[in-house]
């Protein structure tokens, strides 16, 4: 069963194209990370999926139905972000009770247990919480709702490291006990990559790739060594990232289509072959800037030397 299916999805705000002919299929009961730099269209895509926004063009199906303004999709999805609106006069307990009324699978014991664990008094007002506490409460709501489609849009903003770690573990355990489709957007892939199954990488509103995480780690390799040797190796290959380390030594990331012979050749010419961490790869794949930050400094230096 497909949880999400979109074909040629477009979302335009005035001049700004937030989502650009995006096609995506997410199978049900997968934990998928939506990764991309700021402004890649993550939030817009998630809001389109949650049915908050209306697509400008293209088709979008969530559990087989168009999500915009759809009560059935809304009842089966929860959207967690740091801009969730809560009435300031109600306490956390009231909010939980409301969630219990509208979400069929609401797990009250889990909600209570998590609130208790994070030392959040159910009698507290949402308005009186700190930013991190608010994020924690939102995340708890997202977990306890047990929605077939659970969307977390940067849920950890403001949480400190310990809480973040606990939350990731809670998410993983809850996911294993109650498998469901989870979308998790973050620009900090490093922290969450272990618990994700698939990754959708976005850039400028389009999909760069959609791969299971193990495949992503094999997607590219890093080559470090003599620039000349690297040149020979990278000829006719897709170079994803280059970094000049010294005048004759550089680091290149290429798409992993090396054959056994190539590996041998590399080793013989003194080139180190390393795996590229998924988080780094995502950065390389979505880099908008030309070159690296080092180039800025080398340019200013050459100007100064002149």
């Amino acid at each position: 069963m497909k949880a999400i299916e979109c074909i040629g999805l477009n979302k335009v705000y005035g001049e700004n194209v937030a989502v650009d002919s995006l096609s995506l299929v997410v199978e049900h009961n997968k934990m998928t990370g939506i990764i991309g730099p700021n402004g890649a269209g993550k939030t817009t895509l998630l809001k389109l999926i949650a049915g908050f926004l209306k697509a400008t063009a293209g088709e979008m199906r969530v559990f087989g139905e168009a999500p915009f303004n759809n009560l059935r999709v809304s009842a089966n999805a929860i959207f967690i972000d740091d801009r969730m609106v809560f009435p300031s006069s109600l306490c956390l307990d009231d909010i939980c009770r409301m969630a219990a009324r509208v979400y069929a699978n609401w797990d009250h014991k889990l909600a209570r247990g998590l609130l208790d664990y994070f030392a959040l008094n159910p009698k507290l007002c949402h308005a009186h919480l700190s930013r991190g506490q608010k994020s924690t409460v939102n995340a708890i709501l997202g977990l306890a709702a047990h929605c077939p489609l659970t969307i977390f849009d940067e849920p950890t903003l403001g949480m400190d490291v310990g809480v973040r770690r606990d939350f990731y573990r809670a998410l993983l355990k809850d996911y294993m006990q109650h498998p469901r489709s989870i979308l998790f957007s973050s620009h900090m892939l490093l922290e969450v990559e272990d618990i994700l199954e698939d990754i959708v990488l976005l850039k400028d509103g389009y999909k760069v790739l959609h791969l299971p995480l193990p495949q992503l780690t094999e997607y590219a390799v890093g080559l470090a060594g003599n620039s000349d040797a690297l040149c020979a190796l990278t000829e006719n290959r897709e170079v994803l990232h280059t970094r000049q380390i010294s005048s004759c030594f550089s680091y290149v990331v290429i798409k992993n289509d090396l054959k056994r012979g190539d590996l041998q050749q590399a080793q013989l010419s003194g080139v180190d072959i390393t795996a590229v961490p998924a988080a780094d790869l995502c950065v390389y794949l979505t880099e908008q800037r030309k070159g690296g930050i080092d180039d800025v400094f080398s340019q200013t230096k050459s100007v100064a030397n002149r």
Binding site: K47, I78, R83, L90, D94, Y103, A104
Partner: protein
């Protein structure tokens, strides 16, 4: 695998209504404040005239509860506009909602608030009399219209509630217009004005407005009055609903 929930619209509307009623308790508190304000205004803006009877000066102070009524009508309007603003509007979409359930629960909420406001306004007239007793301790009280008959109170509450509902629906429509796009909100009154100018001057429009208000206000049967006001309110609300049916949830 988790089963997919089949929500019933009515259940969601009920939950949203109960949630908002509880969440917006401040609205009721403001109603109390407005009620007291109306009473204070009624007391301070009482009309007064004097006559002299030989050596004796007679002064007659007239107190009307109209201030209570109009302040409450204004309250109903403002509250309805407020209900369409982002913070209030997005509240539904935190959890399960669509436009229909959102608007329906708002409608029920407006009806509840209108009935409360109407009742408050009608009973406020009684409280006004009681307060006036103590605020003007030296005045003799003309024993007319002091005691309101139960029927008068009930009819007063019902009629006031309808005024509140109408004001609320107009406010809701205005708020939704504003949310739909500031341009449209700006243009609507301009168009109306231009239309009035071209279509035979302001007097016709005034007469039109009068005939509309007269259609509702000058009704002698309570049932017909309620039916007419409910119909008009429903019409206005329906317009607001159609206007906001395709609105996106921005949540920011």
């Amino acid at each position: 695998m988790m089963y997919l929930a089949k929500p019933s619209l009515w259940r969601i509307v009920k939950a949203q209504y109960a949630f908002k009623l509880k969440a917006h308790i401040g609205v009721f508190a403001s109603l109390v404040a407005v009620n007291l304000l109306g009473i204070a205004l009624s007391l301070s803006f009482s009309s007064q005239f004097g006559i002299s009877m030989g050596q004796i000066w007679l002064s007659m102070r007239s107190i009307s509860n109209e201030a209570v009524l109009w302040v409450t009508v204004l309250w109903a309007f403002v509250v309805a506009v407020l209900l369409t603003t982002k913070d209030y509007s997005d509240l539904d979409f935190t959890f399960v909602s669509n436009c229909i359930s959102h608007n329906l629960s708002n409608a029920v909420l407006l009806i509840t608030w209108s009935i409360a406001a109407g009742t408050f306004a009608a009973l406020g007239a009684v409280l006004l009399r009681l307060v006036a007793f103590f605020v003007f301790p030296d005045d003799a009280i003309v024993a007319q219209n002091v005691f309101l008959a139960p029927l008068e109170l009930v009819v007063g509450a019902a009629v006031s509630s309808m005024y509140m509902l109408l004001a609320g629906c107009i406010g809701y429509l205005g708020g939704k217009l504003m949310q739909a796009g500031s341009l449209l909100a700006l243009l609507t009154p301009l168009f109306a004005l231009a239309f009035a100018m071209l279509g035979g001057g302001g007097e016709d429009v005034l007469r039109g407005v009068q005939s509309i208000t007269g259609f509702i206000m000058h009704e002698t049967s309570l049932l017909l009055f309620v039916a007419k006001s409910l119909g008009t309110a429903g019409l206005i609300f329906g317009l607001a609903f159609l206007l906001s049916h395709d609105t996106e949830v921005k949540r920011q």
